[in-house]
């Protein structure tokens, strides 16, 4: 396997990883927007908005935390990997 191919493959995989991570963020943000939309709906219809706000206060942070944890891990792991790769290529 030539080095070029390995590098291209690595790049593609990295791109895929980035995409999947952003998909997770899109998912989380979509949920947040959905919940906000429902809150506005319940306010509009005067249909017990308190309940929806209460739920949103818990749900939205939970989803954001989960996405953040994933991102944090990804960045952390990748950083170290890149450091290693750099070292090995320097060697």
């Amino acid at each position: 396997m030539s080095k070029m191919i390995i590098i291209t493959q690595r790049k593609i995989i990295f791109a895929a990883q980035l995409i999947s991570l952003s998909l997770i963020w899109i998912f989380v943000i979509a949920i947040a927007f959905w919940i906000l939309n429902l809150i506005s709906l319940s306010i509009e219809l005067d249909d017990a908005p308190g309940a929806s706000i209460g739920i949103s206060l818990i749900a939205i942070p939970v989803f954001i935390t989960l996405a953040s944890l994933l991102t944090y891990t990804f960045i952390g792991l990748k950083k170290d990997e890149f450091r290693l790769l750099k070292n090995s290529s320097e060697e």
């Binding site: 709906l41 939970v62 792991l77 170290d80």
Partner: protein, 442 residues
């Protein structure tokens, strides 16, 4: 560095074997399961085509197998993440070979269970109304939210601790290296990476416990938020959570015993694991009995006529066979088999676990159907006979669960290899230190 890892998988070769060696049994199992799956899919399409009339539901029994199975499957899902999180949190050393399986159960069963309300919809094509016109005030949407959260959390919680193992598979090479590379997120096993991962896992396991508990509490709210006798009860939250953990452990035990035998994990899943887990099951059985007892005692003591009517319907009426069957399955059999050490063999534990799973399913049936079948208005009791479609979807659900598990075992190790290694390396030392820290004057 990578070379070292490769040399190190020697002692745990048996854990890799299912991934690289595919037997005839695997193909047969998978094809049978896929056949069942397609059959149930077909049945579901008949339901979509003709309407919910193909089920055995009616007025007043408006909910049947789908909701029963929904509650049941979500209950089973508590096996995993919750137990694994609790064990991790309590630093129980014997957890190491168990956590992965537990988490996999959660992820798969939750996906199946979470889809059940959709099976139950009269108009699945209008699902998106939940997005455009949803009402967060409805307990059903609490469920949607909490199950989504739990599913996300438990998948993350399954995935992150798997990264080092994926990296091992990646390094081993083979056809799917790109796939493992994609999933391994560049894990190289450096100290810094380990530190980050441990940190995140620690946060996750704390986070996952309340989410898990919330899920089953919220499911109980579906029932207890109504004014129906037999449902409108404050004890339902904890009762459901206890029941969920109870059935979850039983399911975990069954899976462990099955795969121990199928993949020869005897060295990893030792007597001690079953002993500990079965003790937990015994405790949960007693706890379950305590909850059931309180639930019915309050009903009987109050003797509110409608409440009493439903209790009698369960105790002596048409549902008596299910009710007493449930008591036998959930309490008498497990207590005898697990309480008497002579019976507490792997076989005994297997029987007890199966009986608990059956019993917990019966419990869900007993919660859902009798209340609906006995309307509080002076109407005749409703009848409910599940139709072929409902049975098909139930069997299909179980088939998908097994299929998911088998396929998972085909791509990922069922026992966390790195954690075992870590245990070998550091566990003994750590435990020793910990014990020293407990004991006075050492």
């Amino acid at each position: 560095m990578s070379k070292e890892i490769k040399q190190n998988f020697g002692p745990d070769e048996v854990l890799y074997r299912p991934i690289y060696e595919t037997g005839k049994g695997f193909y047969i199992t998978v094809s049978i399961l896929i056949a069942i799956y397609f059959w149930s899919l077909y049945m579901y399409f008949t339901q979509v085509r003709s309407g919910l009339g193909v089920t055995g539901m009616n007025q007043p029994v408006t909910w049947g197998f789908y909701i029963v199975n929904f509650v049941f499957f979500i209950g089973i899902s508590h096996a995993g993440t919750l137990i694994s999180a609790i064990l991790r949190l309590s630093k129980a050393e014997w957890r190491r070979p168990i956590t992965r399986m537990a988490e996999v159960i959660t992820a798969i069963v939750l996906a199946i269970g979470g889809l059940h309300p959709i099976l139950d919809l009269g108009r699945p094509d209008r699902m998106l109304n939940l997005v455009s016109a949803g009402r967060l005030q409805s307990p059903l949407l609490w469920d949607v939210t909490s199950i989504t959260a739990y599913f996300t959390a438990s998948t993350v919680y399954l995935y992150l601790p798997m990264i080092p193992d994926i990296a091992k598979l990646r390094d081993r090479g083979g056809k799917l290296t790109w796939f493992y590379t994609f999933l391994a997120w560049g894990w190289q096993g450096t100290e810094k990476q380990k530190k980050i991962l441990n940190k995140v896992i620690n946060i996750l396991m704390i986070m996952v416990i309340p989410i898990a508990i919330s899920v089953h509490t919220v499911i109980s709210y579906i029932f207890s938020m109504t004014l129906q006798p037999g449902w409108h009860s404050t004890i339902f939250g904890p009762y459901f959570v206890a029941g969920a953990i109870f059935s979850g452990i039983a399911a975990l035990l069954i899976v462990m015993i099955a795969f121990r035998r199928a993949y020869h994990f005897e060295n990893y899943l030792k007597e001690i694991h079953f002993k500990y887990l079965s003790t937990l099951l015994l405790i949960m059985s007693l706890l379950w009995f305590y909850f059931t007892f309180s639930e019915y005692l309050t009903g009987i003591f109050g003797s509110e006529p409608h409440e009493m009517h439903i209790i009698l319907y369960k105790f002596t009426g048409p549902f008596a066979i299910f009710f007493w069957g449930m008591v036998v399955c959930n309490f008498i059999i497990p207590v005898i088999l697990l309480g008497i050490s002579r019976f507490r063999t792997i076989k005994g534990i297997l029987v007890a676990s199966i009986s608990v799973v059956v019993g917990m399913w019966l419990e869900r049936l007993i919660i859902v159907v009798p209340t609906l079948a006995n309307p509080t208005m002076p109407l005749p009791a409703g009848i409910y006979f599940p139709s072929l479609v409902e049975w098909a979807l139930f069997i299909g659900g179980i088939a998908v669960f097994i299929l998911g598990f088998v396929l998972f075992s085909k791509f990922f190790p069922l026992i966390s290899i790195w954690e075992i290694e870590e245990g070998r390396k550091e566990g003994i030392k750590e435990v020793e230190e910990r014990i020293h820290s407990y004991l006075p004057n050492t």
